[in-house]
Symmetry: C2
């Protein structure tokens, strides 16, 4: 295993220490349990937007804590759900009395632990709602899920709901918006190589030199099929076609196209793939009105990419464009 | 070779097409020859800041074209200098009549081609100056350089000079600032794995499973020494110590610390390393006043990192903080 780490057991805590030092103007990191919270939380009267999940997907979620996006993130161990006490601790530090929205990626462990935390919080009198993100069209059930997995679309949900909460929208509106974004978002990913979890030490799976995994999850879990390596045009079509037919997206739809690196794929390849996807959508008469390109929902050093499409309306465009100031997404502020 | 590409010969052109589509609000991409220029260029009366170099280091340089940074970038083939005609074409599209500053990383091919272009431009009556960036303390001469290589510090030079030019500073001031930043910047990098150049198809070098290359260049060219793999604390110390003793940086110095991923190293590891570096500097009494963490000067999918330190003064802090709006760096605008 070749990584820039000290003891594998300390990776998450040491990385959080670095995150906190690098972005002390935006967030503070708590330990015991580990939480990442906005530096100005709690904000009285503001709906608190909280997410979390296993580490290893950076910048998700801690890199999205800040003005106009998340109030707190709960980082679990690598590829492992945060615990209920982490989620409770995060909520208690950011709850401004206007309710709390938990944004949860659909994985069995995450669902269970966020649900437990939500019950405990409700018993304390916190108005807490949960929206589950399940945008991955690749597989119906998977190694870690009943139903579809939550993947790249998570960033879009967090940005749009975070913008609404920042503007002062109430809990009902924030919850509705989260459900609207989830309902209109579809993703699919693929990988060329496997990630290595630090405390495991070996690659999560093996792929032949001429193979790729199509429909892979963000923990390296199996996708739809293992295929001979295709060229970029073939790879993009193999992701785009199942996404388009699923919602379905149709002629004249306005969309946000998010081309995401799984971590180890360089920007040179990612922009190349993005261009192919944009041109393919233009040929189908689908209007790409907003774009996001970069490594935002990763799987450690895994080489690969995902595409996410969100069907836009005027409200979603406005909230996407609204100011955001976090370590990983920043504009208008 | 596992990459998301079509024909290896088309990688740069196709990636530029994607860059242009993704960021049409900021820049436009020209072909024949390939150039990336600000969408609002030329700006009459503004010094034009132009850089460029081999592709494969993205987001450098095209990702830094936009308001408050570069007016144009000239992307060469992967790990290959841009040609004089590319540089001339870029300058001719952004020259606003107030002079042109060429920011050139110190590699033999780049120096030669930018020099040729500068002579041709001067003959046309353009007031063109060149500042060479050579911040890498690892080796004095190298496979591709006489003198030190230009590496991570390039981003800092481009940001600070770009901010001055945006404010209306004249060519003399911009040139002086570039020289000040170069004089006060030092970098060093290391790698765990090798990059694969698309048109070559094999890794640029081989490293054993327990080896790392310390002092590596951004083309995978050899560094100071090949060593047994160290832990993160050892890796950071191995980069920081030669940097600190070189300028030298001393107690009470105010610095910008830039922790850079070589491309394939995930953010989890990068933040971990950044935290170790910040804590080490604090123990030495050096004040880390600004930070930048991310993959900004890369070597395709190479796993590894570099550290760059810039000694700050009030003027440099102000220009670093000034608004910037490019694909890869954006704040205050």
């Amino acid at each position: 295993m070749k990584k820039i780490i000290n003891e594998p057991a300390d990776v998450v805590v040491e990385a959080l220490r670095g995150l906190g030092l690098a972005h002390a103007d935006l967030l503070r990191v708590g330990f015991d349990p580990e939480v990442v919270v906005r530096v100005d939380a709690p904000r009285p009267g503001k709906v608190a937007v909280v997410s979390g999940g296993g580490s290893g997907h950076e910048p998700l979620h801690g890199g999205f804590v800040g003005r106009g996006m998340l109030d707190a993130a709960c980082p679990g161990a690598v590829f492992t759900s945060p615990t209920p006490d982490q989620i409770q601790a995060a909520v208690s530090q950011v709850d401004g009395g206007a309710g709390v929205l938990l944004l949860v990626k659909n994985y069995t462990g995450d669902i269970l632990n966020f649900e437990t935390a939500a019950e405990l919080l409700a018993a304390e009198g916190v108005d807490v709602r949960t929206v589950v993100i399940d945008d991955d069209v690749a597989v119906q059930d998977s190694l870690y899920t009943a139903g579809r997995r939550g993947v790249g679309g998570t960033v879009l949900v967090e940005k749009i709901v975070g913008a609404a909460a920042e503007e002062g929208a109430g809990l009902d509106v924030c919850e509705r918006l989260a459900r609207v974004v989830v309902a209109n978002t579809r993703s699919m990913g693929m990988a060329l190589t496997a990630p290595t979890v630090p405390h495991v030490g070996d690659p999560s799976f093996t792929l032949g030199a001429d193979e790729m995994e199509v429909g892979i999850g963000i923990h390296g879990e199996p996708g739809r099929r293992r295929e001979p390596l295709a060229d970029a045009t073939g790879i993009v079509a193999g992701l785009l076609d199942p996404i388009l037919s699923d919602l379905p997206f149709t002629v004249e739809d306005r969309i946000l196209l998010f081309t995401n690196s799984m971590g180890g794929t360089p920007l040179l390849e990612l922009y190349l793939a993005h261009g192919i996807a944009e041109e393919a959508l233009a040929r189908k008469g689908i209007r790409v009105e907003r774009k996001l390109v970069g490594p935002y929902v990763t799987s450690l050093e895994m080489q690969g990419m995902s595409l996410t499409l969100l069907r836009l309306d005027d409200e979603l465009v406005r909230l996407w464009d609204a100011p955001v100031h976090t370590p990983a997404l920043r504009w208008g502020a």
